[in-house]
């Protein structure tokens, strides 16, 4: 029983970071209807930025998001303005392939620059853990969960209360109507892609103390990001938050019952079941 509780708790904690990844993807999809296959690679860029900030300037990985997040916002905005913007009206398949290509360029450029060696960012607290009532919880996971929760709360406030946030949601709801209401749709797209990239990079920074860092790490997270957003409903921010936590739990509990080798299969089977029986996701609107 205590094993199950432990798996549940660590599932929820890692799920917080997954939620961040999912929210980024879902905002991009919502505003532009583009499925970003380079999402995991943006996360990988965040991991590398964090690693080198730590290795070169001894910036704590959790503090480094102050630098990484705005930097990746600019990166994402630039990508949107120069490349993604050109294929907004293209076939969805071509958009997918374009972002796959961008992801390949990112991961292979990083490989050229920093080799494909596995890097480990080890801080004083990387392997420390807290003990609460016979259950041990990894401390970096707890810290990253707290930061994730704060960022998610800030993001909700931004999307619900600020003018720009409302304009982004309006664009996601109906691009044409938003344009007619005088919203600068192009600018919203740039902000959305920047926001999505910076969220992915933040997630990368937050998991870097507990994960191996290597150029191809992105593809694992790209797939997870899809599972999370489809589970929650494409384009739904609340859904992605929920989906992230659910996938975290499914993975961690699945790992306990089926062995860690099979936990990914659990996630993918769950994904297929959702696609088949409720393709609009838990909180998504039906596709018409």
């Amino acid at each position: 029983m205590s094993i199950l509780i432990q798996a549940l708790i660590s599932g929820i904690l890692i799920g917080g970071v997954y939620a961040l990844i999912g929210i980024g993807l879902t905002i991009i999809f919502g505003v532009m209807r583009v499925i970003n296959f380079a999402h995991g690679d943006l996360l990988m860029l965040g991991m590398y930025a964090t690693y080198y900030l730590f290795a070169a300037a001894h910036v704590d990985p959790f503090l480094s998001i102050v630098i990484t997040t705005p930097l990746m916002f600019l990166c994402g905005a630039f990508l949107q303005k120069t490349i993604i913007n050109r294929v907004l009206d293209a076939l969805p398949q071509n958009q997918i392939l374009l972002t796959i290509g961008l992801g390949l360029i990112m991961s292979n450029t990083i490989m050229l620059a920093f080799t494909s060696d596995y890097k480990i960012l080890s801080t004083k607290y990387s392997s420390s853990s807290m003990h609460v009532g016979g259950i041990s919880i990894s401390s970096p996971l707890v810290i990253s969960f707290a930061i994730t929760a704060a960022i998610t709360a800030a993001l909700y406030w931004f999307l619900l209360k600020t003018d720009t946030g409302q304009a982004i949601r309006a664009t996601a709801q109906d691009r044409e109507a938003a344009r007619l209401m005088g919203i600068n749709v192009k600018r919203m797209s740039i902000i959305a892609f920047g926001l999505g990239s910076s969220l992915a990079a933040t997630a990368g920074a937050l998991i870097s103390p507990t994960y191996y860092i290597f150029p191809q790490v992105g593809s694992v997270f790209t797939l997870k990001a899809f599972v999370i957003t489809v589970l929650g409903g494409m384009g739904s921010v609340v859904g992605a938050t929920l989906g992230g936590v659910l996938i975290g739990i499914a993975e961690s509990v699945g790992g306990v019952y089926f062995g860690s080798g099979w936990k990914e299969v659990v996630v993918f089977v769950l994904f297929l079941l959702v696609l088949l029986f409720k393709p609009s996701g838990l909180l998504g609107k039906s596709r018409t």
Binding site: L98, L112, L223, F226, V230, W262, L276
Partner: protein, 346 residues
């Protein structure tokens, strides 16, 4: 007139490919040709599903891997000769395809793409974990390919690259002929109708589920043949080479770069991509740059290129696909056709 020119060209190309091993002794050239054949086979088989039927599967590594694993497991552990094993491989691939198809074809557009990726990943992780069948991450290493004999006469002992060259050539001609036949038949029109508008096709009495599955089955047969050929030729398979997501992506890229939905598209794509990535892998491009005096071998840049460019052959796929989608959405073939048409009208 154009028709006779085309027939003459095809005969000439085929004749050239048949006599090539008689004149070219270089094993490197033969190796490259075999890789091109394998890439044309997978590209063309993907093209039947993705190009003609409009179903963008990004999980074709599943069929490649299923074929390769069936043939290799039968040969290595059950002592079934590969020329029987490949057909078992195609059988398994068709069954897999129909199961996958019946699940994934209920979905459309991006949702189908995501489902096809998920299914291929399930196969990869399963192959990693079912250690008593697949050897897990260690992969399967071929120790000996049995010699092929008819009666008492030895046809080949598979010692050189030539028998693999001809096997690849035969499979490639088969898939190209099948593509050409499908395209001209009623079946091909059904496929294209589904690609253009599935609902309209359905209302005209074309059952989309049946024909999408037919396209997938044809596609899976040849993808699995390519996988088996690859496995026996290279002599080693593991989940991260024959079942990887990268492989699925590469299969799609061959078609995108060449030109989707055309017969020559995958041929052009493979003939462009394989030599390019092999040249990067073997450091030929760095050597050429140094020889041309662009960078000196002793300088920092030269040393860096020499050390790292070989690992970055995938980078070229990324750059090419971005360029092609932005500037030539119909692929290289489509681009030159349009270019030719513009010149003729001018």
């Amino acid at each position: 007139m154009a028709r006779y020119v085309r027939i003459a060209l095809i005969t000439l190309a085929l004749g050239g490919l048949i006599v090539l091993p008689l004149y070219v002794e270089s094993t490197y050239v033969l190796h490259m040709m075999i890789l091109i054949f394998i890439n044309v086979i997978v590209g063309s088989s993907w093209n039947i599903l993705g190009g003609f039927t409009g179903q963008y599967s990004v999980g074709h590594a599943a069929y490649f891997g299923v074929g390769a694993y069936t043939t290799m497991i039968l040969m290595q552990f059950k002592h079934v000769a590969p020329w029987w094993g490949v057909w078992a491989g195609t059988g398994v691939a068709v069954v897999t395809a129909l199961i996958i198809g019946s699940i994934c074809f209920r979905l459309r557009g991006p949702y189908f793409v995501l489902a096809s990726i998920a299914v291929a990943e399930i196969f990869r992780v399963s192959a990693l974990n079912l250690k008593n069948i697949t050897n897990g991450a260690e992969g399967i290493l071929v120790t000996e390919v049995p010699p092929l004999t008819v009666g008492k006469t030895l046809i080949t002992d598979w010692a050189s690259k030539v028998p693999f060259y001809f096997t690849g050539l035969i499979f490639m001609v088969m898939i190209i002929v099948v593509t050409a036949l499908v395209r001209r038949s009623k079946l091909g029109y059904y496929f294209q109708a589904i690609r253009e508008d599935q609902d309209a096709a359905h209302s005209l009495g074309i059952n989309p589920t049946i024909y999408k599955n037919t396209a997938l089955a044809i596609s899976a047969v040849f993808t699995s043949l390519a996988g088996s050929l690859y496995g026996v030729y290279v002599g080693f398979i593991d989940p991260s080479t024959v079942l990887a997501l990268d492989l699925s992506v590469q299969i799609v890229m061959i078609c995108i770069i060449g030109g989707i939905g055309t017969i020559v598209g995958p041929v052009v794509g493979a003939a462009l991509l394989v030599p390019l990535s092999e040249a990067l892998r073997s450091n030929a491009i760095t050597d050429a740059l140094i020889k041309a005096g662009v960078v000196s071998a002793e300088s920092k840049v030269g040393a860096f290129l020499k050390e790292n460019l070989a690992h970055a052959h995938v980078l070229i796929y990324g750059i090419l696909v971005v360029i092609v989608i932005l500037f030539m959405p119909d692929g290289v073939i489509g681009f030159f056709r349009k270019f030719g048409a513009r010149r003729r009208t001018a």
